[in-house]
């Protein structure tokens, strides 16, 4: 009997140790000299030469449909680790989807800018936020972009540029960015001709950039796995896809 107790006691210790190590991870100073990196989801790490978002860098996400989701997924892990995210523009963002991508909704603010004070607003946000997502609806001047990038570098903020609406996709950040993620292919799963529903999609993402990132990288991602709420490299589980598609039945509601 005492032996059995000891073994449960030991597993209890193991569990607690596990929890403690998680807390240690969380409470460690965020900016040690060597690792000025904001975390990204494990499945995205292959795209980042530093294994995460390098503080003070500028990142652009572009490509076709799926770019906005990818950009928000990039912020997810950092947001859950305690970083605040500011989104400038994108006033039609569906926040339910943002939550599903794994972003902590208590640490995100959406700002609707006006064009004349756009740069001032972004600069003010760079001073205080760890991640600033900008989706300018106008062409940003190169000098402005350079100044903002310099400010972000100084403050250790990641400036993430995403294209706005689908029709604005041709517009690019006027300056060369440290890392550019491009969605090159999208394939949706779950929707058929007349039944099913959009369940998940496979994105092929290419990463190019300057310095360390100059060697192109590529990753195939599943966005979003309905159960995990985050991206996974594995396709969704078998029984998931074989299950009868959920069709919302007609009913009188309220």
């Amino acid at each position: 009997m005492p032996g059995a107790n000891t073994s449960t006691w030991i597993t209890g210790i193991e569990e607690r140790r596990q929890k403690l190590s998680e807390i240690v991870e969380r409470t460690r100073p965020v900016t040690l000299a060597g690792e000025r990196v904001l975390p990204v989801l494990p499945s995205l790490r292959t795209l980042f030469p530093d294994g995460g978002l390098l503080r003070g860098s500028t990142v652009a996400v572009d490509g076709g449909c799926g770019a906005t989701s990818l950009a928000l997924a990039v912020t997810a892990a950092a947001s859950r680790a305690g970083s605040w995210v500011a989104v400038v523009g994108l006033s039609d963002l569906g926040l339910a989807a943002v939550g599903e991508l794994g972003v902590d909704l208590h640490r995100i603010a959406v700002i609707t800018p006006i064009r004349s004070s756009w740069a001032t607003v972004v600069a003010a946000l760079i001073d205080a936020f760890d991640l600033v997502v900008v989706a300018p609806s106008h062409a940003v001047r190169a000098t402005q972009a350079r100044r903002l990038a310099a400010r972000a570098r100084e403050r250790g903020t990641v400036l993430l540029n995403v294209p706005g609406r689908l029709q604005d996709r041709a517009r690019r950040w006027p300056e060369e960015v440290d890392l550019r993620l491009t969605v090159s292919a999208v394939a949706w799963e779950g929707l058929a001709r007349g039944y099913g529903h959009l369940r998940t999609r496979r994105l092929t993402v290419q990463a190019t950039g300057r310095r360390k990132a100059s060697r192109p990288r590529r990753a195939d991602l599943w966005l979003v796995d309905a159960d995990e709420g985050v991206i996974s490299m594995e396709p969704p589980r078998e029984q998931e896809s074989s299950r009868d598609p959920e069709v919302a039945p007609l009913r009188r509601v309220g």
Binding site: C65, L95, V224
Partner: protein, 519 residues
């Protein structure tokens, strides 16, 4: 009793958030902060609206209630006229917050014919300034704490004056909850200590042993003494800080940023000497030499954010009030009027008060100053069927970022809710579109929820035709059928178009709309 308490007069306008909004008498109205009622008019109270109710509940109990968002700037602005009027009695008006201020009556009461007469005259003056707002209460007693409780006891607008030296007797029968320290009073009540008198009767050493310095301070208050013994009061050293503004500032938010930096410096300076400030004199000077000063008092100690907020309040009243200054503000000065040893404040490790998010909060306040209050929004979970209803963006001002939001109805099952993943782009206004079958016929849905034809091509907002690669639907909803105005009957479709974009379309009243895009 070593030192006699300072006779203090307290002017308290209950429901000031409401009074300052200028709602006429007799109209049911409620002021809400972060979706909770914080003040309501007598008319609303009669119909069952109370403090702490949620906005919806308040509207449910009294549908005609007028709901106003809290605006501390407006309150400060309106209270400035009261404070200015009180300056006719004494130069030492201490502001505690908009709606509540006090002043020591030693000099004024001699000049205005005794305590009773002074209180009466103050009441008449306040009535005149506020236009006879019902419920302005005046209390006069030994010490600010007793005076505040006296003001609370005042009925029918008659000032409540506690005779000199009788404050302990006045306080004794009052409930211990008047101390406004829930953590302590909760314990006291469970210990069977129900009144301030019973609490005061406990030995000071015992109270200190059980409840620490904080408890000791409250014990002194309950006994009708000053919160801090007079001999521990530190004479304020020359610690005033000032800053020049160049160019002169003529907007409150401009001064607000400067004030925050100045208050930080002020507090650092005090903190280095182990002091905290409980009363501060804020002085603003304009380029044409006008000067505006006010004394602000706080029960605890004033933090940098609190001081900056008080600067804002003071200037709101001045810059937008009746006697506006002729020039911009060129100098701002903070003078510590009363300091005390800093007891220190431990920031929460898990939960509680912490500095987390303080920086972003400040930056957002700055952005609000640039773009207006509604330009900054934060998400809050609500329940709903449409993707846009599940999480909504609410203005930053309507939520309290520091406290966790109450759990909404988001966990409840919402039958007919769209399956996840949710669309990333939701159009604020649905975009009209057209859906045609292979034969070029418009696609519709019958009354039984059946499609008239298979959708084959889609054109969004008159754009080019996109081929439908896959689709599902119609998912019909019939929402709020009991309400002729809000009733919506529509059929939703998910469509995958040839540009690889998933789209959420809906058919309502024979017209097609694009509601959202799975970007």
């Amino acid at each position: 009793m070593s030192v006699a308490q300072v006779r203090t007069l307290v002017v308290w306008c209950p429901d000031w958030p409401l009074t300052s909004s200028g709602i006429p008498d007799g109209v049911p109205a409620a002021v809400v902060l972060a979706n909770r009622v914080i003040a309501c008019s007598p008319a609303a109270r009669e119909r069952g609206v109370t403090r702490g109710l949620r906005r919806r509940e308040a509207q449910g109990r009294c549908p005609e209630v007028e709901v106003i968002e809290r605006d501390t700037a407006r309150e400060a602005r309106a209270f400035e006229s009261v404070a200015a009027a009180l300056e006719a009695f004494t130069p030492r008006v201490e502001m505690i917050r908009p709606g509540l201020c006090s002043f020591p009556t030693l000099g004024p009461s001699r000049c205005f014919g005794g305590d009773e007469s002074l209180a009466q005259q103050v009441r008449e003056m306040v009535d005149e300034v506020t236009g006879g707002v019902p419920g302005c209460r005046i209390g006069l007693a030994d010490g600010p704490f007793a005076a505040r409780l006296a003001a609370r006891r005042c009925r029918d607008s008659q000032p409540y004056v506690v005779a000199r030296g009788t404050s302990p007797a006045f306080l004794a029968p009052l409930p211990v909850t008047s101390l406004d320290a829930p953590a302590l009073t909760d314990v006291l009540l469970r210990l069977g200590v129900g009144t301030l008198g019973a609490f005061a009767a406990l030995g000071a050493a015992d109270v200190a042993a059980r409840f620490g310095t904080e408890g000791l301070g409250l014990h002194r208050l309950a006994a009708g003494r000053d919160e801090r013994p007079s001999d521990t009061r530190v004479p304020p050293p020359d610690l005033e800080v000032s800053t020049g503004l160049d160019p002169p500032a003529d907007r409150v938010d401009q001064v607000g940023f400067v004030a925050k930096a100045l208050a930080d410096r002020f507090n650092d300076e005090l903190g280095r000497r182990g002091l905290a400030c409980s009363r501060v004199l804020i002085v603003a000077e304009t380029e044409s030499g006008e000067r505006m000063e006010r004394l602000w008092r706080h029960e605890g100690s004033l933090g940098a954010t609190a001081i900056a907020q008080r600067v804002r309040w003071q200037l709101e009243g001045w810059l937008t009030g009746g006697a506006t200054p002729t020039g911009g503000i060129v100098r701002l000065l903070l003078v510590p009027d009363e300091v005390l040893p800093a007891a220190g404040r431990q920031l929460g490790f898990w939960g509680g008060h912490s500095e987390e998010g303080e920086g972003p909060r400040r930056a957002l306040a700055r952005v609000q100053g640039l773009l207006g209050p509604d330009s900054v929004r934060v998400p809050r979970r609500r329940g709903g069927r449409s993707p846009g209803e599940q999480v909504v963006l609410v203005p930053l001002d309507s939520v309290d970022l520091a406290s966790p939001p109450p759990a909404g109805d988001s966990d409840q099952p919402w039958p007919g809710r769209l399956p996840s993943p949710s669309p990333v782009v939701i159009h604020p206004e649905p975009v009209p579109c057209e859906v045609l079958s292979r034969d070029g016929e418009p696609v519709g849905v019958s009354g039984r929820g059946l499609l008239t034809a298979t959708p084959a091509r889609v054109s969004i907002a008159g754009g080019r035709w996109l081929e439908v690669m896959a689709w599902a639907g119609p998912w019909t909803t019939d929402e709020r059928w009991w309400d002729p105005v809000a009733h919506r009957r529509r059929a939703r479709f998910q469509v995958l178009t040839s540009d690889d974009a998933g789209r959420l379309l809906s058919l309502e009243g024979r017209r097609w709309w694009e509601e959202a895009v799975y970007d």
